[in-house]
């Protein structure tokens, strides 16, 4: 077993056993992180594998959060089997609509138009009464997951919610791995490396990129749904460009183009925040936690071009391509 795989399996065992400590704070914190890991993996499909740097990925996450908050009945639970696919479909449709428009642009322009569309959505919810304006809205009762009348998982229970999110995080990881090993996934990687060559080999770039964009938006929608369920509350912040930027930073921190890098990045980003914002350690400096997180990210970018996940690699036999030795 390779070092990377052994580390990942060890990490998974830790996640499986973590709730045994019984600390509700950490159960909830880790649930939040795993939701962000799903979000970050969905962005990795675009940034790390297709070469499309989106600075508006929060749009699909936030839209899903608002969607579940708005369609849930006020005093009783929504049906998860109905609302989860519906909400993901809404995110997919939004990604399809925005993707059709933004994929005409490339490079810096692509970054700017994805940002612009996300900001439009942000102001739509911020400045209208549609979703409670800047105050946001509550999701009073979490959706209910029932199988033939029995409820095996109660999302109101933090422990149940934790394992539900962990299972979905693993499902998304393996789904994306499967897709990336398919001809579609291989073509995305080819398009990232050299779009011109791919086109001259007969690959139409547009449908592949649009497919990746919609898939990424749909999975971001899954994360947004879960986040709204966890906090029972949505506000325009989950649509903001800060949020899109944070998830991009998670990818940079963890390492792009390797799905577990997105997961490592989500954990590192949130735990660093917790660490630098801890008054027990930093006292009065704790309120300037952004400084500590910022310095750390700069150091990672300077010293670890492949992110934290890259730390696992020097231990293995390298299969890196050398530049031509002609």
């Amino acid at each position: 077993m390779s070092v990377t795989r052994a580390t990942l399996v060890a990490g998974l065992i830790c996640l499986l056993l973590a709730p045994l400590t019984g600390a509700t704070f950490y159960i909830q914190l880790f649930s939040k992180i795993m939701i962000l890991a799903i979000f970050a993996m969905s962005l990795d499909l675009l940034v790390g594998y297709t070469g499309l740097v989106s600075l508006g990925h929060a749009a699909y996450f936030g839209a899903a959060g608002y969607a579940i908050a708005l369609i849930s009945p006020k005093y009783h639970a929504a049906n998860l089997w109905l609302t989860l696919p519906l909400v993901m479909l809404i995110s997919a449709a939004l990604a399809l609509l925005i993707g059709l428009l933004v994929l005409r642009a490339a490079g810096v322009y692509f970054i700017m138009v994805t940002l612009a569309f996300a900001q439009m959505l942000y102001y739509l919810f911020h400045d209208t009464k549609l979703g409670g304006g800047s105050d946001g809205i509550y999701l009073y009762v979490k959706p209910e997951l029932s199988v033939a009348g029995i409820k095996p998982v109660n999302l109101e229970n933090p422990l149940h919610f934790y394992y539900f999110v962990l299972a979905l995080m693993l499902a998304v990881y393996f789904l994306l791995r499967t897709i990336l090993a398919s001809p579609f996934g291989r073509a995305l990687v080819g398009l990232k490396v050299n779009e011109q060559r791919m086109r001259s080999l007969g690959f139409p770039a547009a449908p592949y990129k649009l497919g990746a964009f919609v898939l990424a938006g749909t999975l971001a929608g899954l994360a947004g749904y879960l986040a709204a369920c966890q906090f029972g509350f949505v506000n325009p912040e989950i649509l903001s460009w800060h949020y899109s930027g944070s998830v991009l930073m998670m990818l940079i921190l963890g390492g792009m183009g390797r799905l577990y890098g997105a997961v490592i990045g989500a954990f590192a980003f949130v735990l660093l925040q917790e660490f630098f914002a801890s008054q027990a350690i930093f006292g009065a400096l704790a309120k300037h936690w952004q400084l500590g997180v910022g310095v750390f990210i700069v150091l990672v970018v300077l010293l670890l071009p492949k992110g934290l996940a890259g730390l696992l690699e020097p231990l293995e036999k390298r299969r890196e391509p050398r530049t031509g030795d002609a």
Partner: protein, 253 residues
């Protein structure tokens, strides 16, 4: 003589005030090696790029089996059967040699959006990739990452990638440039073999290679066709000698 499959007529390409191609016409038939020669800046690479769809022509027509394709995108032209290689080596450095060809062959797969089947489980695609790799004599390097291949091998791999898309016509932009004597001799043999089943349009500066391979020669100067015909006729054309061949010989001698 077989019927030409690719016919370009009156191709013109302007970049702002510069006319890179001026009313260029040529034809390419299967089994033919049509070499394009001319000094730097003559418009040879521009012509390849216009024929492959990387650049849209400003005017003129391109017909492939009678179908007007001047407005087609590069990927549409590739799927019709026009393959190309680039002047710069353009392989996927992180993929191994076989995967480079497999990816190329995959573009012919009718169900590209099946997300749940492993790419390397499509037998016909892998077979086509192996065949293309063997055709250029790189089968022993199948599992070597492309970035670790020598320059000459990378150029061979590029041709294998194009072959894996099963083209009828190949547009090759300086396939021999930068190679040593042994590598270029190998490449010339390879190109001669490929030409038996394909129409090959070749841009090349190496005159020995050109005269060893070409069945038709077109000389370009300043975006225009100066002369076109069988190599022997071109060699003895006084205008060509003045404009191109002669000066090259003088420089050498």
């Amino acid at each position: 003589m077989p019927e030409p499959v690719l016919k370009a007529n009156g191709l013109t390409k302007r970049f702002g005030g510069l006319t890179a191609l001026n009313d260029v016409s040529l034809q390419l038939a299967p089994g033919e090696v049509h070499a394009l020669i001319g000094p730097n800046g003559a418009g040879k690479s521009t012509l390849i790029n216009v024929l492959s769809g990387d650049l849209p022509p400003s005017a003129g027509s391109i017909r492939f089996h009678g179908l007007e394709i001047a407005r087609y995108s590069p990927d549409q032209r590739s799927r019709l059967g026009i393959g190309r290689t680039y002047q710069q080596t353009n392989v996927f450095a992180a993929f191994d040699a076989l995967e480079n060809c497999r990816l190329a062959a995959q573009s012919r797969e009718p169900h590209p959006f099946n997300l749940f089947r492993r790419a390397d489980s499509y037998r016909s695609v892998t077979e086509a990739a192996k065949k293309a790799l063997a055709a250029v004599g790189l089968d022993h390097r199948a599992t070597t990452v492309a970035g670790a291949l020598s320059h000459g091998e990378q150029r061979q791999l590029e041709i294998a990638m194009s072959l894996a898309t099963e083209p009828q016509v190949l547009l090759l932009d300086e396939p021999i440039a930068g190679m040593g004597a042994e590598e270029s001799a190998h490449m010339i043999r390879l190109l001669r073999r490929i030409a038996q089943g394909h129409g090959v349009l070749l841009v090349e500066h190496d005159m020995d290679a050109v005269f060893a391979l070409a069945t038709v020669l077109t000389v370009m100067v300043n975006g225009c066709v100066l002369a076109s015909g069988p190599p022997e006729e071109i060699r003895s054309n006084p205008e060509v000698q003045r404009a191109y061949l002669g000066s090259a010989e003088n420089a050498d001698g």
